[in-house]
């Protein structure tokens, strides 16, 4: 079989308040990796949408991309799914890439299927890997049944192919900047004449956690074995003393001890790869494992010696996690101190 053409890969570059999203570098890294398979004859581009975004375009030129296509338009001042889908569709039709990589952030998760439907093409969701097979076909590896299985998705006949990837799934690589980046502005006629049916009203202030959980070196993760509010409070106290981050499994949210799901770990939450993950009463359900399996060291405390999580752990403690928490607090300045 002849090698299918792969001339252009583009990354959708998301940005907020003048800053490129970290996912952008992760996706460019993956695009570079793929391009090697095609003897480096692949143009790696980025598409960026917004209003007055010259700074973002400049930052983007340092990420290692060869091309930047951008649409700068007042209607793109803030994210609006209709305007953004319109502009992205327009850019994609103009650029005609074979593959589009989009971060599965809130914005990307909406844009990818929308643009996919407009272009009548396929979208592979939440890829954990994207590889080129021996025939040069792009193969997306995606979780199936909550991550218990993985499956391959190919888009053999329609172009462009679209793949979405959750933030932090790919490790950021240092791609040297291309000193000869081409920057192309796309003038959008479609935006001029289109009036959205979705109107922005207000935005809540983003909770500025000291640091996103994805960047923490040590994560203490609460599972349902935490049992009650008392242990939850202790875990947070310990984390504060040791300056580690706190994550949790999904059912912990139903306990009512957390009022958001920002630090939930797993398929419907965050993907983390800290140096050390410490699980307190986590059973090891596939949905959760999916988000933490790449942690460097996994240590888990569970009262059930047959807990599934132990199969994925480097260290296990078979004990009541409340008692271990108490002992840890005692050694770090006393139970109440």
């Amino acid at each position: 079989m002849e090698k299918p053409d792969l001339d252009k890969i583009i990354v959708y570059a998301e940005h907020k308040k003048g800053h490129l999203d970290p996912s952008c570098a992760e996706l460019v890294g993956k695009a570079k990796e793929l391009s090697v398979k095609y003897d480096d004859n692949v143009v790696i581009g980025a598409v960026v949408l917004g209003y007055e975004i010259s700074e973002v375009v400049k930052d983007l030129s340092q990420t290692g991309v060869d091309y930047i296509w951008y649409t700068d338009h007042p209607k793109l001042t803030r994210y609006n799914s209709e305007y953004y889908a319109l502009a992205l569709e327009e850019a994609v039709r103009f650029i005609a890439p074979e593959l589009i990589l989009i971060a599965a952030t809130s914005q990307g998760s909406e844009l990818a299927p929308t643009v996919g439907a407009r272009l009548k093409t396929g979208v592979a969701a939440h890829c954990v890997d994207i590889v080129a097979d021996d025939n040069g076909q792009i193969v997306n590896i995606v979780p199936a049944l909550g991550g218990k299985f993985l499956t391959e998705i190919k888009i053999p006949d329609v172009r462009p192919m679209i793949s979405t990837v959750k933030p932090s799934v790919f490790v950021k690589k240092d791609v040297p900047a291309n000193s000869n980046v081409q920057t192309v502005r796309i003038e959008s006629k479609a935006l001029d004449s289109y009036e959205s049916r979705i109107w922005f009203v207000a935005e809540s202030v983003k909770e500025e956690n000291e640091k996103p959980i994805e960047e923490a070196n040590v994560i203490l993760c609460a599972g349902m074995g935490i049992v009650d509010e008392e242990n939850w409070r202790k875990l947070n106290e310990l984390a504060a003393r040791l300056k580690c981050a706190v994550g949790y499994t999904r059912p912990v949210i139903d306990l009512g001890v957390v009022n958001n799901d920002h630090n939930m770990i797993g398929t419907s939450g965050k993907t983390i790869r800290p140096q050390l993950y410490v699980g307190f009463g986590v059973s090891g359900a596939s949905h959760h494992i999916c988000g933490m399996k790449d942690s460097q060291i996994i240590l888990c405390i569970n009262s059930d010696e047959n807990a599934d999580i132990f199969r994925l752990s480097d260290y296990k403690v078979i004990a009541d996690c409340g008692a271990i928490l108490d002992a840890m607090l005692e050694l770090t300045g006393g139970l109440n101190g």
Partner: protein, 266 residues
């Protein structure tokens, strides 16, 4: 009076995930003994529809694409208080990816009537792509919003919604008709009443086949209408050699702290 459609999908019961086995020779799932349930987030969409109907009056129509066995899940949804249910079932729908599925659903909805609101779950528990709601919106030509965690009807033509976006919230007003994907956190799902259960038994679940819909483009559905092709299942074999940390609670705590301290963030 609101005309509300709710998209319902039947999925393998989450409780069965850990017993689902994989046939390494055939590279398929052994589905034996796996019970099907209503996709959890679809129940939150249905709950929203029920609340809106109680407040403003209206009709709730359920729609699902799937095998004939899904009548069981649709009947269960009827027992919560939905008015009508349509099952789009035809062997040529089989193998549809999200683009083809949303196309079939859009054709079904157009065929059934006019809706002010089309509600869906934010993700299906098995595929979990979160593609169908947006793509359904595109086929219908309606605006669509994912991750909706609050919704009010402002007047007949406009809904006010709150969307959970990464780690903050955004409020929008949206022109109706529109498609909204409801996230789990929006509401608590009620239990069906005895009366609901009894009255659902007598209700007819209308089946739509490809032939029921005159302008269905066959090239857009099933395997041939699906740009994505699913390959073999791969078992994700995560395994590490595990060492037991033993001793008194204090000894264990000190060992754990000994691992944490060298790597904590500065």
């Amino acid at each position: 009076m609101l005309n509300i459609a709710v998209c319902i999908k039947a999925v393998p019961d989450e409780e069965c995930y850990n017993i689902i086995k994989f046939d390494p020779v055939m590279k398929t799932l052994i589905r034996e003994g796996i019970s099907m349930v209503i996709n959890p987030s679809d129940l939150h969409a249905l709950e929203l529809a029920l609340c809106l109907k109680e407040k403003l009056g209206g009709e709730i129509t359920l729609i699902s694409m799937g095998p004939m066995t899904v009548t069981t899940q649709l009947r269960e949804c009827l027992s919560y208080g939905a008015d009508e249910a349509y099952l789009m079932s035809d062997c040529i729908f089989g193998g549809s990816d999200t683009l083809a599925t949303s196309y079939v659903l859009s054709k079904g909805l157009r065929h059934i009537g006019n809706f002010d609101l089309v509600l869906a779950g934010n993700e299906s528990a098995d595929g979990a792509t979160s593609h169908v709601p947006s793509q359904l919106g595109e086929w219908l030509g309606y605006p669509h919003v994912m991750e909706v965690c609050a919704l009010n009807i402002v007047d007949e033509k406009i809904a006010a919604v709150r969307k959970k976006a990464d780690n903050y919230f955004v409020d929008y007003t949206v022109k109706l008709p529109a498609v909204f994907a409801v996230s789990r956190g929006m509401n608590k799902v009620r239990y069906p009443s005895i009366r609901g259960i009894l009255s659902s038994k007598g209700k007819e679940i209308k089946v739509l086949t490809a032939e029921s819909i005159p302008d269905l483009d066959i090239s857009m559905i099933g395997l041939q209408g699906s740009p994505t092709k699913t390959g073999q299942l791969i078992t994700s074999s995560f395994h590490r050699d595990c060492m037991l940390l033993d001793g008194s609670n204090e000894e264990i705590a000190s060992a754990i702290l000994g691992m944490i301290r060298p790597v904590i963030d500065d």
